[in-house]
């Protein structure tokens, strides 16, 4: 009892981070990570519950008290190996998972105070291994002689690859872009998830034996049926939700209006923030407006600020409460000077004689009755039109199913939005030997939910590869 009390007296260890006025103009990672001492202190706060809620809150069921206990003891090598047992991408998850609604949301300490900083500790264990580790690989099951292809190298695909290689199967990951990582490299900015870390996580899988082939557009360069002809026994499709939505309002094709996908791909995958040291340019707006209220919108607005914008605004048609972005992301954005224009909806874009954006017309909104999503529907306030000057607009209002693969290899049943129909318990599609998971099944969601879907599919694929369909 006394010990518990002592533990409870320790406050949650704050994450050291770059000061807002400094970081808003650079692309270095915002949080700087725990020191070993801080990590051990934080780990001490964990009560090692017999029935831990945190594990239930984790889509891939990481043994959270287990790895935190090892950090408590200073066994960092053991901690990362414990994590690897359930999670192939701990350095990524420690950074981008919404812990507050998952593991940390279920932490018993959260009921009376602050949850154990599970995410920060996961990140610490992964970073410590990368920087000081022995490089010793976790054990693998004996080879089964079965071959699996994973289409798409985002979080779902990498999880499947990690799970199947550990179970002794041969795994090849096929990526359409020239670099593996999917949304982790093209979508999430450097200042939230350094690309070097993604590359290291992929390299870790390669060291385990996973083959990664880039520049492979499945559906174009090679068809799904050809994969089976080439001897693959099972295929996982995790191609993401890569089809940008636009607003379909007048003037949307003016120069200076980009999808968040394009803007972030230029900045992240193509490293256009280094232009002209690299060859891919990116528009540098003085007055930037980002449309949308999700994490992607925050990423875009913060990227614009780092590229030197005088002002970077979020324009969102609902109120703060309905914003889908993580609280921490909104907080970081605000600290960096991002302005929030809420309950505001653009109605048209205004261009000059050269077809370049110079402003947009907006309507003020108010909240009405709840809509299909359960959130109160924004309705326009009559006569509230006003003009907002801007020279760059980034549209971050979500994405849909990219039909490139699904339309060229029909065979799989799709729902009315074009997403692949997959059994939520197994990830099986309607095509024999093919599984699917992540955003191409659920629509745009989070990294960890895609990884959870990957885990489910990998278990089912393993059963198939060893027992049959």
């Amino acid at each position: 009892m006394a010990e518990k009390k002592k533990k409870r007296a320790i406050p949650r260890q704050p994450m050291p981070e770059q000061a807002p006025e400094v970081r808003r103009r650079n692309f270095k990672e915002v949080p700087e990570g725990y020191s070993p001492e801080t990590a051990m202190e934080e780990a001490t706060r964990c009560l090692q519950c017999k029935n831990p809620g945190c594990v239930d809150g984790c889509p891939v069921s990481v043994d959270i008290p287990g790895f935190i206990g090892l950090i408590q003891d200073g066994d960092f090598k053991g901690a990362i190996r414990n994590l690897w047992g359930k999670n192939s991408l701990p350095a990524v998850c420690g950074r981008v998972c919404p812990q507050e609604i998952q593991c940390e949301g279920k932490c018993v300490l959260a009921k009376k105070g602050e949850a154990v900083a599970i995410g920060h500790l996961e990140r610490f264990a992964a970073d410590y291994e990368r920087e000081h580790g022995t490089g010793e690989l976790p054990p693998k099951q004996p080879t089964t002689g079965k071959k699996a292809a994973v289409v798409g190298s985002g979080p779902a695909g990498l999880t499947v690859a990690g799970d199947l290689i550990a179970k002794g199967h041969e795994v090849t990951v096929l990526e359409a872009f020239h670099k593996p990582g999917g949304v982790l490299v093209y979508g999430i900015p450097e200042f939230r998830l350094p690309k070097e870390i993604v590359a290291q996580e992929v390299h870790f899988l390669e060291r385990l034996g996973v083959k990664v082939e880039t520049n492979m557009v499945v559906g174009r360069t090679v068809s799904m049926d050809e994969l089976f002809e080439q001897g693959y026994d099972a295929v996982f499709v995790g191609v993401g939700a890569g089809l940008p939505r636009f607003l379909n309002i007048p003037g949307e094709n003016l120069v200076g209006i980009l999808s968040a996908n394009e803007y972030l791909t230029r900045a992240n995958l193509m490293k256009a923030y280094l232009y002209p040291q690299v060859d891919t340019p990116i528009p540098k707006g003085k007055n930037v407006v980002v449309l949308g209220g999700g994490n992607v919108a925050m990423d875009a607005a913060r990227t614009a600020m780092r590229l030197g914008a005088d002002s970077s605004k979020i324009v969102y048609r609902r109120s703060r409460e309905e914003m889908p972005a993580r609280v921490a992301e909104v907080h970081h954005a605000e600290e960096e000077g991002i302005e929030f224009h809420l309950l505001t909806n653009p109605t048209r874009f205004i261009g000059n004689e050269k077809g370049r954006l110079i402003g947009m017309e907006c309507l003020k909104m108010e909240l009405g009755e709840p809509d299909a999503s359960g959130r109160r529907r924004p309705v326009p306030v009559e006569g509230s039109e006003y003009r907002l000057d801007c020279d760059l607009v980034i549209v971050a209002v979500g994405s849909g199913a990219n039909p490139l693969l699904t339309q060229s290899d029909a065979d799989m049943e799709l729902n009315k939005w074009g997403y692949i129909v997959a059994d939520p318990k197994t990830g099986k599609t309607t095509k024999k030997g093919v599984w699917a998971g992540g955003d191409i099944v659920t629509g745009a969601a989070t990294v960890i939910l895609a990884m959870g879907a990957g885990r489910i599919a990998a278990d089912s694929m393993h059963d198939y590869l060893t027992l049959g369909w």
């Binding site: 359409a176 872009f177 093209y186 557009v217 890569g242 193509m270 060859d279 050269k354």
Partner: protein, 277 residues
């Protein structure tokens, strides 16, 4: 690496041909489709419609004009060297069928893209009249190949240094006046496609154009390549690159192609200065 097995300079060194080893793409590619090329780690992803593929040799050929830093870097690659990344085949293939008489109109490096389509249309049993044009004789490419790929080849140059003096539209008008044409294909600079489409619309001749807007991924992810076709927004990378020429908003396309003009000019100049130094 995707090795360059053959390299040729054309049009006084302003246009370069690269035959590149890419067996998977060569095996799949059809006329009208494009690839994305990236020369180096720091390089830009550049979409180019293929001029030729040889599935047996496992190669594809692109022909491009040197217009900026990225194409200048491409030009600096020698035979035996290669591109770090080649991605494809992307876009929809040209719909080839026997319709009767077809006029294929090409300008500048558009002729390189037009060539395999012209040949396929001829092979499908159409009577093919080709019209190709350039600013002057030195800039005209692929005359011999276009002659072989068509039944009749007409040539014009802006300055009259070779073939007829004038624009391709003037020659096209004579053809349209002279006989019944069932289809037209126009590939070249945007203004050329615009004016060819304007003319064929007057004669009610269905017209296909191939567009090359700015794009990043080429797989429908970024939407940078959006074009207005018949009042609807289309993505050239997955819905095209070929569209009904009578429906395309060319003025918008031209403005969108200028998006990075200032950046690119500076980048290119810096690169040229560096090369000279």
């Amino acid at each position: 690496m995707f090795k360059i097995v053959k390299r040729e300079e054309m049009a006084g060194g302003t246009v370069v041909l690269n035959e590149i080893e890419a067996p998977l793409i060569a095996n799949k590619a059809k006329p009208g489709q494009f690839v994305i090329l990236k020369a180096t780690e720091e390089g830009e992803r550049v979409p180019l419609t293929m001029a030729e593929t040889d599935p047996e040799k496992g190669t594809l050929t692109v022909i491009y004009m040197v217009v900026g830093k990225s194409t200048a870097v491409f030009k600096s690659l020698k035979e035996g060297e290669g591109y770090q990344d080649v991605i494809g085949p992307l876009g929809k293939p040209t719909h080839i069928e026997k319709v009767g008489t077809v006029v294929c109109v090409g300008g500048g490096t558009g002729i390189a893209v037009l060539h395999p389509i012209t040949r396929a249309l001829k092979e499908a049993g159409n009577r093919v009249i080709a019209i190709i044009g350039a600013r002057n004789k030195d800039l005209l490419i692929l005359e011999d190949r276009m002659k072989q790929a068509s039944h009749e080849l007409k040539i014009c140059t802006d300055d009259g240094s070779y073939g007829r003096k004038g624009f391709v539209t003037e020659v096209l008008k004579e053809v349209l006046e002279g006989e019944k044409v069932d289809q037209a294909v126009a590939i070249g600079p945007v203004p050329m496609m615009k004016f060819v489409s304007k003319m064929t619309a007057d004669y009610d001749v269905p017209t296909l154009v191939s567009l090359n807007p700015i794009m990043v991924d080429g797989t429908g992810m970024c939407g940078g390549c959006r074009v207005s076709v018949g009042g609807e927004t289309k993505f050239a990378c997955v819905d095209g690159p070929e569209f009904d020429g009578h429906q395309v908003d060319y003025d918008e396309l031209m403005m969108r192609l200028q998006a990075y003009c200032e950046d690119e000019q500076k980048c290119y100049n810096d690169f040229c200065l560096m090369e000279q130094a």
